[in-house]
Symmetry: C2
Subunit: 354 residues, 2 copies
């Protein structure tokens, strides 16, 4: 615990706790109002501390992208986890079975027969069956079956395997593509219904279009990660304001080699090279005219103006373009309270890519 931000070493990542908690509450309220269950994605914070805050606000469970993330969350008391990734190979399937025995509810997704077959073999003799949602590609062009008919076929396959339960449908829709996603889901549910297959969960998600999230008469739950911290890309889209950005990189000016250039101690090993459509590497809080025009691994190159100079030793705060990859660069971050005091927080699932 330190008194204020001048006592922490740079570069580092600082989360304003009040802002983060307000972001959690605001979207939970939205989901409550529109009748969506909320299942936050921990990929953004990777922290038991914030996962618990999301559960306390009313989340039904959490989403993880990788099995190692779920393992890192399992000691938090959180009992309901959805892993939104095709899990393949005997070692991971063994870990999945071990996870299953320690949770009240574990579900995963699958978008192909090979993955379902592997899951079936792993859970054939398990004490509890595994719930599987069929992942549908509704326009994002990543994983997912391409048609409602293909979703039906996988659902039927799952239903015929003794260790598995068909739990419903999951999609990560294209940004602003929630209408198409809903129609794909409606068409699929109709096909399922015609075969007498129950589809309890229809899971959608995504931060960019979060305030337009509704059930659309079909969606039951929403997965969302970035909303807890927010970032420059979401400000750009109009999803949030700068004041709602809870996560800042704190960096120090270490050199001013020329009147139009300053160098900070944060480079691509902190800010990452994620541009998300921008041509520079973050928003300098309170000094938007200063551009982070280049990064090497440990240096950030700032274009400064004669009107707005920096001084060596000065600290700046940066809202990253894409906060989810930036917070993942740190083993520990700092949580800032309303008095400006800071406490260190270990990032439980940092680097959990397995």
């Amino acid at each position: 615990m330190v008194d204020n931000v001048t006592s922490v070493n740079t570069p580092t990542f600082i989360v304003n706790e009040a802002v983060a908690l307000r972001n959690i509450t605001a979207f939970q309220s939205h989901c409550n109002e529109v009748g969506l269950a909320l299942r936050p994605h921990i990929k953004t914070h990777k922290s038991i501390h914030f996962a618990k805050a999301q559960m306390a606000a009313g989340a039904i469970g959490i989403t993880c992208q990788k099995i190692s993330e779920a393992e890192a969350m399992i000691n938090s008391g959180i009992n309901d986890i959805l892993i939104t990734f095709n899990i393949i190979g005997p070692e991971k399937l063994g870990r999945l079975r071990a996870l299953s025995s320690r949770l009240a509810a574990l579900s995963v997704v699958a978008d192909n027969a090979e993955v379902i077959q592997g899951l079936g073999q792993a859970f054939e003799a398990a004490p509890l069956p595994l719930t599987i949602l069929v992942e549908c590609d509704t326009g994002a062009g990543r994983c997912g079956v391409q048609t409602p008919k293909a979703a039906l076929e996988l659902a039927e396959k799952i239903s015929h395997i003794s260790g598995l339960i068909f739990g419903g449908l999951m999609t990560y829709p294209a940004a602003n593509g929630s209408k198409d996603a809903a129609q794909f889901m409606r068409d699929t549910k109709q096909l399922l219904g015609a075969k007498g297959i129950v589809c309890p969960v229809v899971s959608s998600g995504g931060s960019p279009d979060m305030w337009n999230a509704t059930t659309a008469g079909i969606i039951t739950e929403y997965r969302i990660g970035t909303y807890i911290y927010n970032d420059r890309s979401l400000v750009q889209r109009g999803t949030c304001t700068w004041g709602e950005c809870a996560g800042h990189v704190l960096a120090t000016v270490v050199s001013i080699p020329t009147p139009d250039r300053a160098i900070i101690d944060a480079g691509s090993k902190v800010l990452t090279s994620d541009l998300l459509g921008f041509s520079d590497y973050g928003h300098v809080v309170g000094k938007p005219e200063i551009k982070i025009v280049g990064l090497s691994e440990e240096h950030g190159v700032l274009a400064v103006t004669p009107e707005r100079q920096l001084v060596i030793g000065e600290r700046i705060r940066i809202v990253p373009n894409h906060v989810c990859v930036v917070s993942n660069m740190f083993d520990d971050i700092w949580i800032e309270d309303e008095n400006g005091s800071l406490a260190e927080l270990q990032i439980d699932a940092r680097g959990c890519v397995i």
Copy 2:
């Protein structure tokens, strides 16, 4: 220790030890032939294991970019470290002083009076003085004084502070800009000589132009990082061959949603978004016609061709665009020997950005 690559979980990072050692030896031989001392930069491997291999091959010491990297290396038996970064603030200066007392030789760089003043205060009453090289900007546009005259002024300043020793000049030249760098250094050394200031070290570096590295009648040591693993960017420049790329990301195909798209379990939290001039995210070993066209955090999107399909569960090896940022994503990597056996290696300085 595992027998072969099918037993390791993906995504992960694999280093072929024989290739890495050959890369170390080859450039050490080049430096020996041209009369340059070699001071490898550990930023690429961040590992005591490989730093020791570099020292055993004939390196005079190592380069670190950050003080926390140097701290991570200090238990390796390596006694000579150069930190090529302006160190600012009482906490870091205290750590620098502590480091100094545990090493036979510690040097840092500085490119401005404020940094020199801080270093002077920290080492005023230290048992041993600190050696400082003046960083010169010879065209790369990052840190560094802009003129030989400015370098002279800082050298004079250092010489007048009791806890500090002027150790020479350092530059990170622009790619293929070694001629300009040498001229800047010659001009500066002439100014220094006229004032009776000895300049024992002139340090240059950089992997892209490594095979053209010579003393140019002025350079005494060379700093280089990427050469140990090499990467796609260096193949593109003609610096190395694919066979000389020691570091591969191993990933698994988890989904083939359409005939022209496959998804792997490595995204931007593994491969990073570093493009280095490419339009895609790495080179698929043995299958160069397959392009990694998109990354989300944990998914890589591959464009596949009808002629060269992949199958679900298949593993691919990827030479990253920029290996230094990719190896930094893993707490542990795998070292592959000539029989294909693999041993896990902890990355001692991963994430050491302070």
